[in-house]
C-alpha cells in the first residue's frame, strides 16, 4: 500500500480505523526496536510503543502530508522516547548513581537481553555518547536508516548526521579497544 492510499484511509472518518490498523501492522516492529535501542528495557519499550501509537491515532487529523507517514511516525516516536529518557534522568540528578549506570544495571538483570560481556561493554560505550550521537548511531547501526531519511526525521543536515555518526563510531571503537581486542564493523 502506498503512502497516499494509506493517507486517504486515515483521513476519512469511515475508513480511519481500518487505515490505523494497517499502519500499526506495518510499523509496530520498527517503532518498537527504535525505542528499545534507546531505552534498553523491554518493559519501558513496550509501554512507550503503545503510547506512541495512541498519540499517532489522536493526531491523525493534524498530519499535513508535508513528509512521508514513516517520517512523521518516527518523529513522534523519537520525541516521545527522548522526553521519557529526560524525565527519567531528572530523577537521578541528585542521586549518587548516574542514570547511565542505572540503565546498565537494569540491562544486566533484563531477561530479554543476552548479557554477554562484550554486548554489555558495547551498550556501555553507546550510553556514554552525547545524546545526538547516540541517537544517530542507533538509527544507523541498528535500524539501517538512510541518512537522507534521518535528515527528515531529526531535522538535521545529512552532512551533520554523517559527522555525528563518524565521531560516535570512533568513540565506541576506542572505548571497546581499551577493554577488548575485538573490533566491531561500523562500516557503511
Amino acid at each position: 500500500m502506498t503512502d497516499k492510499e494509506l493517507f486517504d484511509l486515515l483521513k476519512h472518518k469511515n475508513t480511519q480505523e481500518k487505515g490505523f490498523s494497517i499502519l500499526v501492522h506495518n510499523y509496530k516492529e520498527r517503532i518498537y526496536w527504535q525505542i528499545r535501542h534507546l531505552v534498553l528495557s523491554h518493559d519501558d519499550a513496550n509501554d512507550l510503543t503503545q503510547e506512541v501509537f495512541i498519540r499517532i491515532f489522536q493526531n491523525i487529523d493534524n498530519f499535513k502530508q508535508e513528509s512521508s507517514i514513516a517520517t512523521w511516525i518516527y518523529r513522534i516516536a523519537l520525541n516521545h522516547t527522548l522526553n521519557f529518557i529526560k524525565s527519567k534522568a531528572q530523577r537521578y540528578k541528585s542521586s549518587v548513581k548516574s542514570f547511565e549506570d542505572s540503565m546498565l544495571d537494569n540491562l544486566k538483570a533484563d531477561k530479554y537481553f543476552d548479557s554477554t560481556d562484550i554486548e554489555l561493554k558495547l551498550q556501555k560505550a553507546i550510553l556514554s555518547l552525547p545524546e545526538k550521537q547516540r541517537l544517530v548511531f542507533n538509527l544507523r547501526y541498528y535500524d539501517d536508516m538512510p541518512f537522507k531519511e534521518m535528515e527528515q526525521v531529526l531535522n538535521t543536515s545529512e552532512s551533520s548526521l554523517k559527522s555525528s555518526y563518524h565521531f560516535a563510531t570512533k568513540k565506541i571503537q576506542e572505548s571497546l579497544l581499551e577493554e577488548e581486542k575485538v573490533k566491531f564493523d561500523f562500516s557503511d
Partner: protein, 161 residues
C-alpha cells in the same frame, strides 16, 4: 564478531499481542473528542462572532445617550423651561397660604413670573453685562425660595447681588 547481533529479545508472540493491545486501547478513547476536532473551525468562527457581538454591545451601551440627557437638562435649566421642582412647588404653596394675594396666582403664573424675572435678569446680563435685581425680584427670592435654592438659582444664572 558478527555485525549487528541483536542482543535484545522479545517474548514469544509479542508483536501480535502488541497490535491487539494497541487497537484495543485506541477503541477505548472516547469518541466525543471528534466533535471538537471535526467542528473546530465552526466553533472558532462562532467564538469570533460572539466576541464581535460582545464588543458591539459594549460600545452601544456606552453611547452618549446619557450625556445628551444631561445636555438637555442643562439647557432646560438655563432657559428654565422645566416645571418647578417639587420643593419649589411646596414653597410656592406655603407662600400662597401665607400670602392671600398670591393665592390667586397659579403655579404657572408664579413659574412664569419666575421665568420673567430670570429672562429679565438674563436680558440685563446680555445687554449691559451689568445686572441688578428689582425690588419685585428680591422680594420674590426672599419669599419663595429657600437659601440653598437661591444660591443654586444665582449660581446657574450667574447673578450677583
Amino acid at each position: 564478531m558478527a555485525k549487528k547481533d541483536n542482543p535484545f529479545r522479545v517474548p514469544e508472540n509479542y508483536f501480535n499481542e502488541l497490535e491487539e493491545e494497541i487497537l484495543k486501547k485506541v477503541n477505548q478513547i472516547p469518541k466525543k473528542r471528534f466533535f471538537f476536532t471535526e467542528y473546530k473551525s465552526v466553533l472558532k468562527y462562532a467564538a469570533l462572532v460572539l466576541l464581535l457581538l460582545g464588543i458591539s454591545g459594549l460600545l452601544w451601551w456606552n453611547l452618549p445617550s446619557k450625556n445628551s440627557n444631561l445636555k438637555q437638562e442643562y439647557v432646560e435649566l438655563k432657559t428654565n423651561k422645566s416645571t418647578p421642582s417639587q420643593l419649589e412647588s411646596e414653597l410656592i404653596a406655603e407662600q400662597k397660604a401665607a400670602n392671600p394675594a398670591a393665592q390667586n396666582q397659579s403655579t404657572t403664573d408664579i413659574t412664569s413670573n419666575q421665568e420673567t424675572s430670570i429672562v429679565k435678569t438674563k436680558n440685563l446680563e446680555q445687554d449691559n453685562n451689568e445686572f441688578f435685581l428689582s425690588e419685585e425680584e428680591l422680594e420674590y427670592l426672599e419669599n419663595y425660595l429657600q437659601d440653598d435654592i437661591i444660591n443654586d438659582y444665582l449660581t446657574y444664572n450667574e447673578v450677583e447681588l
